[in-house]
């Protein structure tokens, strides 16, 4: 139920947007993330973007996992 997929925004029109992943596109709603731009990545659940993603955050997350394992 709480599945969410990362999509790249290709266009935005008010609360409605189109996102793309692996060559497939999908309409989604961006009510909860003001200020998104085409090119941004978002996590989408049941047709609504719930959080913005950045490459930097993903890299930091990966580094944090490695650090946590190193510390054990």
């Amino acid at each position: 139920m709480c599945l969410a997929v990362p999509l790249k925004i290709t266009s935005i029109d008010g609360k409605r947007a189109v996102g793309e992943a692996g060559g497939l596109s999908q309409t989604l709603r961006v009510d909860f993330l003001p200020g998104l731009q085409p090119g941004d990545y978002v996590m989408v659940h049941a047709g609504f973007a719930i959080q913005k993603l950045t490459e930097e955050q993903a890299a930091e997350n990966l580094a944090a996992i490695r650090e946590a394992l190193d510390a054990l």
Binding site: M1, L3, P6, I50, A58, L62, A64, L69, L72
Partner: protein
């Protein structure tokens, strides 16, 4: 892009598993619970249980919102589907759940002529209402805090557009009251929680701070890739070893401390906490989300007189209730895999693709 594949690398998994073997040697047996159906499936699909060292047990809790919907609610929905003026819309999983009569589900009713639509998003149900002004479109809103904001947005839009033939039957649930009920139950025996990453994307990681603060239970908000899950399990086991329970956030690429303020505002604007019945846990105060008075015209429970406290009638022999509480493993149910299979399910834990029994059955050889 590295949002998922980078978190599946086997090197990290091997290091995590080696660390876990050491940790469990020190701590002795540990029981950890995941409380998100998507975690249940991710763990089963990656075959993590078979890789974990002996003594470390992963248990599935009440994380599948379809599974915790009581049979009494399904019975009422099935009766509603008999009305020729009603179109019901919901996520595919819910349509497969039988009520108190085995095999009687919305899918069966659809094959008999009832108007039942599978939707991916509540936005599609709203579009159906606009297309069919002569019909009542009822969206069966099931889910946790991840799903609630989108449902709230659709109710706000229905009011704004004056779509009076659209309504929502809110079966939405709140995580915290159910967790408290679970922890306070006499048969509770879990050493730490893997907290649901996408619920936390909305609520913020701090929504789980009560676990270490009030119950001295370690809690780690986790993502859904094998690397995420193994790292989170290591962090939980390490907190158990040190005897220092805390809340940690492993899923930092998606989850912040404070969550998504706009999504939380939408929930707060539309819904109020209300008592809800959970299969396996019974009625829990403030564990549901009911549309507030301003949204009464769009509240299917009021529009069609949904009975309050609809009972949790269980099928004889079915142990879904105990499985949902993490007290029984799927294989400990006498019906598992013989009478009850995904092709012919008895209880909701086998029906839902995210149910503990469906996951255990589908990936039983892993």
């Amino acid at each position: 892009m590295r949002f998922d594949t980078e978190f599946r690398r086997p090197q990290n998994a091997e290091r995590a598993l080696a660390a876990l073997r050491e940790l469990v040697r020190e701590t002795g047996p540990i029981r950890l619970m995941e409380i998100c159906g998507t975690h249940t499936m991710a763990i089963a699909k990656a075959g993590l249980r078979a890789l974990l060292p002996e003594g470390l047990e992963l248990i599935s809790g009440p994380g599948c919102p379809v599974c915790v919907t009581p049979a009494g609610a399904i019975d009422w929905i099935l009766r509603l589907s008999e009305r020729p003026d009603v179109i019901l819309a919901s996520y595919g999983d819910l349509l497969r759940v039988p009520g108190s009569v085995r095999g009687d589900s919305l899918l069966r009713r659809r094959s008999l002529g009832a108007q039942v639509r599978t939707v991916y998003s509540p936005v599609e149900a709203l579009a159906l209402a606009a297309e069919h002004p002569d019909r009542e479109v009822v969206f069966l809103g099931v889910g946790f805090e991840t799903t609630a904001p989108g449902t709230a947005a659709c109710l706000l839009e229905a009011r704004e557009r004056g779509l009076r033939n659209f309504s929502v039957l809110s079966l939405l649930k709140r995580t915290e009251p159910a967790l408290r009920a679970l922890v306070e139950a006499p048969d509770f025996a879990v050493d730490g929680f893997l907290c649901p990453g996408h619920v936390a994307a909305v609520t913020g990681a701090q929504a789980f701070a009560f676990l270490p603060r009030e119950y001295r239970l370690p809690a780690v908000v986790a993502g859904f890739e094998p690397g995420d899950l193994l790292c989170a399990i290591c962090r939980l086991a390490d907190m158990v070893r040190r005897g220092e329970p805390a809340l940690e956030n492993e899923y930092t690429r998606v989850v912040t401390q404070e969550g998504n303020p706009a999504a939380l505002a939408a929930i707060g604007c539309v819904f109020t906490p209300a008592a809800a019945v959970w299969r396996g846990l019974g009625e829990i105060p403030e564990s549901g989300l009911a549309p507030g008075d301003a949204f009464s015209p769009w509240d299917a429970a009021k529009k069609f007189s949904f009975p309050a406290g609809s009972s949790a009638v269980e099928t004889p022999g079915c142990r879904c209730g105990a499985v949902i509480r993490g007290v029984a493993r799927p294989a400990e149910c006498p019906l598992f895999g013989s009478v009850c299979t995904p092709a012919d399910p008895v209880g909701p834990c086998m029906v839902s693709g995210e149910g503990a029994c469906a996951a255990a059955y589908r990936y039983r050889n892993l």
